[in-house]
């Protein structure tokens, strides 16, 4: 099974996302921002980083990259897509996900191992988790404060589109402690914390993040 990882100019965690895909038993496929080609992959990850240097707004330029003209309709047609950190920001800018990510409430970049509560374990990216389960993965971002208007927030809560939430104190001021959301169909998921940095206790705080990647392998193979 092949899972694409997009490299935009300024993507940084593409290598880590590819490693996580490999550890989950799938084949990572590099997708280049300038190619209008998804290379037949079964799922796509938009990795963390600073695409286009975060110029203008985080993710605002990347959404116009040629590869996105293929990705956006494919995602609307049901292709599983995961956006991590900057990838989440890009998915919001591309309006594949509701809401926006704004500057951390503390106005400083925050790197911290955060405890998260899995709110929706039914998406193709989270099925290997139990609903309500708590996991620890790193958060590292300067613009991770999730924001949306009250109606959107209420709708997300009501429809189960809040996928994952900060379980302890809110590290960046996100509305409702929201760390990640999905679209109405559940195939597009975005989150600020980095599950790809928690796939091996040697290099991360835990291996809790690996199941995002084993989830998609199981979901696609099923």
């Amino acid at each position: 099974m092949r899972v694409g990882v997009i490299t935009f100019p300024g993507s940084l965690d593409d290598r880590d996302a590819a490693r996580a895909v490999r550890l989950a038993g799938a084949e990572p496929v590099t997708l280049w921002h300038g190619d209008r080609d998804l290379r037949g992959v079964a799922a796509v990850i938009l990795p963390g980083g600073f695409s286009y240097g975060d110029y203008l707004r985080c993710g605002a330029i990347a959404r116009f990259a040629p590869v996105m003209s293929e990705l956006i309709p494919a995602a609307r047609a049901g292709l599983p897509v995961l956006g991590i950190c900057n990838g989440f920001q890009i998915l919001c800018e591309a309006q594949l996900l509701p809401g926006a990510l704004t500057r951390n409430s503390g106005l400083r970049f925050v790197t911290r191992d955060v405890r998260l509560r899995m709110e929706n374990a039914r998406t193709p990216w989270t099925r290997a988790y139990a609903g309500g389960e708590e996991i620890v993965v790193p958060l590292k971002s300067g613009a991770g404060c999730y924001a949306a208007d009250p109606r959107t927030l209420a709708g997300l809560e009501a429809s189960g589109q809040v996928v994952i939430r900060y379980a302890d104190s809110d590290p960046n001021g996100s509305a409702g402690g929201i760390a990640g959301v999905c679209n109405a169909e559940g195939n597009v998921v975005g989150l600020m914390p980095h599950p790809e940095h928690a796939v091996d206790p040697l290099t991360g705080p835990s291996a809790d993040g690996l199941r995002f990647f084993t989830s998609i392998v199981a979901a696609v193979l099923r």
Binding site: R15, D54, F109, H194, L202
Partner: protein, 738 residues
């Protein structure tokens, strides 16, 4: 002749009258404006090492023969063989002066500059570290400088995608007005990937690529980094600080690595201090000897710039490559893929002259070696008049705590002091996870990065400096910080392999500073010889002084080690209850320059602890063997604050308490800073095996207690709940900086 001298602004460019005359003599005529600009930056202290060169020569000949050294001093950075076909290059460099003038951009471009040095060697940058020193933590100016420096490092390093794996943070009044911002980068390559900074092969093209050249940083090397801050000069110097674009640097890194992989580069040099002037003269001087450059082909951000400004500009994110004519198109295609601007600006010649034209008119025509080599000064040196009085001011006379509550209060005062407190306020702003190979990062003793996923091969890195020890004795002080960095690498289980250094001092024109500098370099040379590890490169930062007051002599030493299997690394955290604690090394009553004397009494005097380099070697080989054998669950170096601070840090890191009985005088046992010591936690049941190994390595040791409970307990003296310890330890920096 006299009229010419008056007409040319050599003094404004930082040249002395004698240096100006030397330029005239070299050329046999009055220099052009462009030539004067070029010589002024190349002969600046920052670029030419004119005051330090005669001393630094000791470091090269004193290199112990090391099979590991693939490229030594004189390159952009030294290169060390770490086995399995991998080589590592690392270097530390100062960005002190810009970071005081404009903390955010000054510190950011310090990261950018050292990363390009590593890149120019052919390596993929793998991690960064920062050694930071500021004035008093509570001083208003520190509240301006520190947050800006940290945000600059965070902004640049995070966006560049390099894990920040450690460093230092310290405070001392001597750094008020002269903060030290020393940035280290380490890179990894395969053996065959080494690149050279030389323009060989007449007819080969010279390509400038990366950012366009703007007016930023003009004269940064000559005026800013090579002169002491005066009282009124800051307004003039402000525009000299460069502005960084880490996004562009990320693209430049990927672009260069692809150019190297495709074999498109004959020679390469990064552009740092002195920009185009430095890159062209150094490439030409190290290559066939000649180069022709059309300066009007340099892409400009500001079209009003003329040749002198173009030569002196320190615009960031630029590289210069030498490329065979038949491969220029391929080179430009790779640059286009990464959206990197590139321009052919000249070619290599065999004329022995560096000739530059500006719209057809010759504006520079010099022998490149004359600019690249620069003058050499034998500055006068004199033992500081105050040295004897400082040595005589023995901390033995200071009042000491005499009972349990007193010792407890002193321990808490130390772990809550800004220099020893929890540094999360700083390090939480840095990405330590990116690239997925960080095995250890702060608050560990060393950063540890995995190099090979299959074999577990890794590299450990530590930086250490201690201005107080340096002030008491530059020779011994330098050996102590070298020992500490060496030991910090060793406690992870890695084998120390090579040394880099950033020598931060006051004005070389002050004989007392030169005496300190000479002692420090001699200490480093002798220390490295005794430890059997080579110095692979470094950097000198002079003029860290305001008016007549210099900083403490502050050599910052970086030690690189190789770890055969990072899965066997040791953390400082006590985490395994029941593990027995062994104090390794000998403890003497040594308090000169100690954290205790500094924090509790604001005292600096007496003699520093005695380094014991042979004992350091024994300790390091014991730790490597014990880690490989899986005998230990934790190991922590003893340095600032002695055993007291080490126990507190290890308890907090591992989330477990400990119970110890102190040998001898409890105050000495807790707060002495004797060198060549570590505390280790031996896995339950393996005590005898460790004792045997310790004996075989000739390392003295004493069992002092066990990992247990939720308190740090010193029998007969005090108990401190971990929650209380943590509260004191973590409160200090947020209280100061918000």
């Amino acid at each position: 002749m006299t009229a010419d001298i008056v007409a040319q602004p050599f003094a404004e460019l930082g040249l002395t009258r004698a240096e100006y005359q030397k330029i005239v003599d070299t050329l046999g005529r009055r220099p052009t404006g462009a030539e004067l600009a070029l010589y002024s930056v190349m002969w600046s202290e920052h670029c030419s090492y004119k005051s330090s060169k005669i001393y630094l020569r000791q470091l090269a000949p004193a290199e112990p023969a090391s099979a590991a050294l693939l490229a030594g001093i004189g390159h952009n950075a030294g290169v060390v063989d770490i086995g399995q076909g991998y080589a590592v290059t690392f270097k530390i460099e100062s960005h002190n002066h810009p970071s005081y003038v404009e903390p955010h951009q000054g510190a950011a471009t310090g990261v950018g500059g050292i990363v390009r040095d590593i890149l120019a060697m052919g390596a993929r940058p793998a991690a960064v570290m920062d050694a930071l020193r500021f004035g008093p933590a509570a001083a208003p100016d520190t509240a301006r400088v520190l947050p800006g420096v940290v945000s600059g490092i965070s902004f640049y390093g995070n966006c560049l995608g390099l894990p920040n794996i450690g460093g230092e943070l310290d405070f001392d009044p001597c750094y008020a007005g002269n903060p030290l911002v020393n940035a280290l980068c380490v890179g990894v390559m395969r053996h065959g990937d080494l690149q050279v900074a030389a323009a060989g092969g007449p007819g080969n093209k010279v390509i400038l690529f990366g950012s366009a050249t703007g007016p930023d940083g003009v004269g940064g090397a000559s005026v800013l980094a090579s002169a002491a801050f005066g009282r009124a000069g800051e307004a003039v110097k402000r525009p000299s600080v460069q502005v960084g674009d880490p996004f562009l640097e990320k693209l430049l890194v990927e672009c260069c690595l692809e150019l190297f992989a495709d074999g498109l580069v004959v020679g390469i040099q990064d552009l740092g201090a002195a920009g185009v002037a430095c890159a062209t003269t150094e490439l030409a001087a190290a290559g066939t000897g000649g180069m022709r450059v059309e300066l009007d082909r340099v892409p400009l951000r500001d079209p009003s710039l003329g040749p002198p400004e173009i030569l002196m500009s320190e615009s960031q994110e630029r590289m210069m490559a030498v490329v065979e004519p038949g491969r220029v198109d391929e080179f430009l295609a790779v640059c286009a893929k990464w959206e990197i601007r590139a321009a052919v600006i000249g070619e290599v010649t065999d004329t022995g002259r560096l000739v530059m034209t500006w719209h057809g008119e010759t504006v520079v025509d010099i022998p490149p070696g004359s600019a690249a080599d620069g003058p050499v000064y034998h500055r006068p040196s004199a033992r500081p008049a105050a040295q004897d009085a400082i040595s005589a001011d023995d901390p033995a006379a200071l009042p000491r705590p005499s009972d349990g509550p007193g010792l407890r209060a002193d321990l808490l005062a130390l772990v809550g002091s800004p220099g020893l407190a929890d540094k999360s306020w700083v390090t939480d702003q840095y990405d330590r996870y990116v690239r997925g190979d960080t095995v250890l990062a702060m608050p560990e003793d060393s950063g540890l990065v995995r190099v090979d996923e299959a074999t577990g091969l890794g590299i450990a890195l530590a930086t250490d400096g201690n201005g107080r020890y340096g002030r008491l004795d530059p020779y011994l002080g330098t050996q102590l910080v070298l020992s500490e960095a060496y030991r910090n690498v060793a406690v992870t289980g890695a084998r120390p392999l090579a040394v880099t250094n950033c020598l931060n001092f006051g004005s070389p024109e002050d004989p007392e500073v030169m005496w300190q500098f000479a002692g420090a370099v001699r200490g480093l040379a002798d220390g490295c010889a005794a430890l059997g590890i080579p110095v692979t490169g470094g950097n000198v930062s002079f003029y860290n002084q305001t008016g007549a007051v210099a900083i403490h002599p502050t050599p910052v030493i970086g030690v690189l080690g190789v770890h055969d299997d990072v899965r066997r690394r040791l953390s400082i955290g006590f985490g395994v209850p029941g593990a027995s604690l062994v104090l390794l090394g000998r403890t003497e009553p040594e308090f000169g320059g100690s954290a205790w004397a500094h924090v509790r009494h604001g005292h600096l005097g007496g003699r520093p602890p005695a380094p014991d380099l042979l004992a350091e070697r024994r300790l390091a080989s014991l730790l490597a063997a014990a880690a490989a054998a899986g005998l230990l669950s934790a190991a922590h170096d003893l340095s600032d604050g002695g055993l007291a601070v080490a126990l507190a840090e290890s308890c907090l890191r591992g989330g477990t308490g400990c119970r110890v009985r102190l040998p001898g005088d409890p105050f000495t046992a807790l707060f002495s800073e004797s060198a060549a010591r570590a505390v280790v936690a031996v896995r339950p049941g393996l005590e005898a095996a460790f004792a045997e190994l310790r004996g075989a390595h000739g390392v003295p040791g004493q069992a002092i207690g066990r990992v247990a409970g939720d308190d740090l307990v010193v029998d007969g003296c005090f108990a401190i709940p971990l929650a209380e310890l943590a509260a004191v330890h973590t409160a200090a920096l947020p209280e100061l900086f918000g």
